[in-house]
Symmetry: C2
Subunit: 402 residues, 2 copies
């Protein structure tokens, strides 16, 4: 059996994701789709709308065959580390290929950029140094160095100013650095953009747009046309059980209390909290009645929304710099769910996997997994806080089977 891997958050699973899965299978001829999915905290540094098992179920009901968890340490990191963790897992599971979304669906510019930056590594670094020495910001220097390097070998290259391209680039770079035989494929996105509002004349909307609609109007039916039926049912089920979807606003009283318990300097122990921001975090937590209010106080040109949210995620979960940076590679494959076809793939290939497959977390001492368990515990507390009802959690929830 052949597998294609995808790297996802499914927050929530929508029609664009379903299209991506279908295309990935078609384009690679794979029998099964393996999704490596973030757990309860996501790459933009925020809690997931619904727990990882609800999101697993949505995926399995809509075309994914196996869902495994991207460990917290990778899931909440910058593109490079995020991509590295994900590709290592897909590679360890012997996926023949992985498929990611891009604006034009052409893999060549990605490969060209990868070759260029690796073939001319020394020149690239010197150019960056030069532009920095001329008084340019680091991102600006990267851009200028890249622009100049492209002259060396005229070809089609990707635009590295696009966040989606950066992620795609890091996927293929991770595969290259891993010396993995996994084959990169890219699928053209069929949505307008990433941050757009939902549009009534289409069935495609971004997850960001869908979340925005869910929180702003609070009407589940508003998003019906953008998600598969199964997603809709899972979201409905979640609301019946937990009354509302999770986000930072809902978790704000817990986050605020967590922040205020610290004197500023102690906050810098947590991952991504850079020196200098700790005073503002404590000061404005004390006076802000909502998360949005708080963020508007602390965000600046230097500290972007995403960067701040990642800091806050690590403050909430209590993950320190030392913990986040101790792990350079996943140490296990955590199975969240599978279809019967997925199970067939696991039976056939499991013995060749490069990492142990974990279905039950009962007795593990793995430190990386301990962090995932803690993240679930914290998320679960947040859910209990907003709904007075618990989620079952890592110990009690076996892999979902569809």
């Amino acid at each position: 059996m052949k597998a294609v891997g995808v790297v996802v958050e499914y927050n929530p699973f929508h029609n664009g994701h379903q299209y991506h899965i279908q295309q990935s299978k078609t384009k690679t001829g794979a029998d099964v789709v393996v999704a490596v999915m973030s757990g309860h905290f996501l790459q933009r540094g925020e809690p997931a709308l619904v727990d990882k098992w609800y999101r697993t179920k949505m995926a399995l009901l809509s075309g994914v065959d196996i869902v495994i968890e991207l460990p917290y340490v990778f899931a909440t990191s910058k593109a490079e580390q995020f991509a590295k963790g994900a590709i290592q897992l897909l590679s360890a599971m012997k996926c023949e290929s992985f498929a990611f979304g891009s604006e034009d669906g052409n893999i060549e510019p990605f490969k060209n950029t990868l070759s260029l930056l690796h073939d001319f590594r020394t020149e690239y670094n010197e150019l960056i140094k030069y532009y920095v020495s001329q008084g340019n910001s680091y991102p600006k220097s990267l851009f200028e160095a890249y622009e100049q390097l492209k002259q060396k070998r005229p070809q089609l290259y990707i635009d590295l100013a696009q966040p989606n391209n950066i992620l795609g680039y890091h996927y293929i770079e991770a595969a290259y650095l891993l010396n993995s035989s996994i084959n990169p494929v890219t699928i053209q996105r069929i949505q307008a953009g990433f941050h757009d509002d939902i549009q009534s004349d289409t069935t495609i909307a971004s997850a960001t747009g869908i979340r925005k609609a869910l929180f702003e109007n609070g009407e589940l039916s508003d998003v019906l046309q953008y998600v598969p039926r199964y997603t809709y049912e899972q979201l409905q089920d979640w609301l019946q059980n937990y009354q509302q979807f999770a986000n930072w606003e809902a978790f704000w009283p817990l986050l605020r209390f967590t922040i205020i318990r610290y004197i500023p300097k102690d906050l810098t122990q947590f991952a991504d909290v850079s020196e200098g921001i700790e005073y503002a975090i404590v000061k404005y937590a004390k006076v802000s009645d909502s998360f949005t209010d708080f963020m508007n106080h602390i965000k600046s040109k230097r500290y972007t929304w995403t960067r701040l949210q990642r800091m806050l995620t690590h403050i909430l979960t209590g993950i320190t710099k030392e913990q986040l940076h101790r792990f350079s590679s996943p140490t296990y494959i955590r199975l969240l769910g599978m279809t019967s076809k997925g199970q067939q793939y696991l039976s056939e290939k499991k013995s060749e996997f490069d990492l142990p497959l974990i279905s039950r977390v009962a007795s593990t001492k793995d430190e990386l997994l301990q962090i995932d368990l803690r993240a679930t515990e914290i998320y679960s507390q947040g859910i209990q806080f907003i709904s007075n009802k618990k989620i079952d959690g890592d110990y009690k929830t076996p892999p979902i089977r569809i």
Copy 2:
């Protein structure tokens, strides 16, 4: 002007407290009563029913002339440290005497016990060692050593098994060790006991009984007969502003979240958290839906309710062992409120005080005071959590004037 000091929590102020104040003045001939009162966390390790300014107002409206704050570090400590901080403050404010409650209102047995234990210190310590070496518990050994020591000099002694006597003993011992000229006086209690339920045929009930009635029935009118009118009005006003009274049950979601964020061993950094209990604290926090449920899981013969509550107080406020034990004496007199007569006393005596009088906390760097400010911040978060409304806090609240 002459002042008599009292050491109080007023949680809440009741008729027994009013009687104690009147008697203290009568017995000592003092012009003013100075109360050194715990702030937002109390000696039994729990949050106060209402904030310290509400409790100050109750006291000033019912016979107290000056209310100063017993710093958190002393207010949440065992009898010895608690008494030491309080007596040092009263002594620093040039009170001629202090008055504490006791079952029989006779100061002689307290003085006799003090002399006995100090005159025969060496023998006492040897007797304790002996009893411990015979396999007795430490409290049992203390008791046996004391019993035997009494034979040396037959007189009236206090029963050191009574919690109230232990506190009284530590007050007079603190005065003695301070070499203070402050004169101890004791006033007979007119209440049945400490933990009793309220009784309908009397106007005297313990603060414990009153709190129990407030939380169990939730009817403020149930406690009307046991408190001065002014207390009743303050409690009413609090409810109008904050909907409910504070206690551990109300703060439980915040405490639980605070606990669960830690791995067990990190909890032992907090004051009073003794090694061995940290695992149970984390384990049962995860499964307990209420504070009472949680406490019933962790309490044992070794870990009494009060001892556990003190640990939990320090975990909630984030006060470490190192912080709690760094301070052996108060470094300031924090004024919470005064009547015009109290103000007269301050004007007359302030220049003789042994410690600086603080009315406003705006710009202090005093480390002991920083801890009080943090305790208020945490308490305030708890109140905001249960009522969605802030208390004004230390920076914004000037001393109450009646």
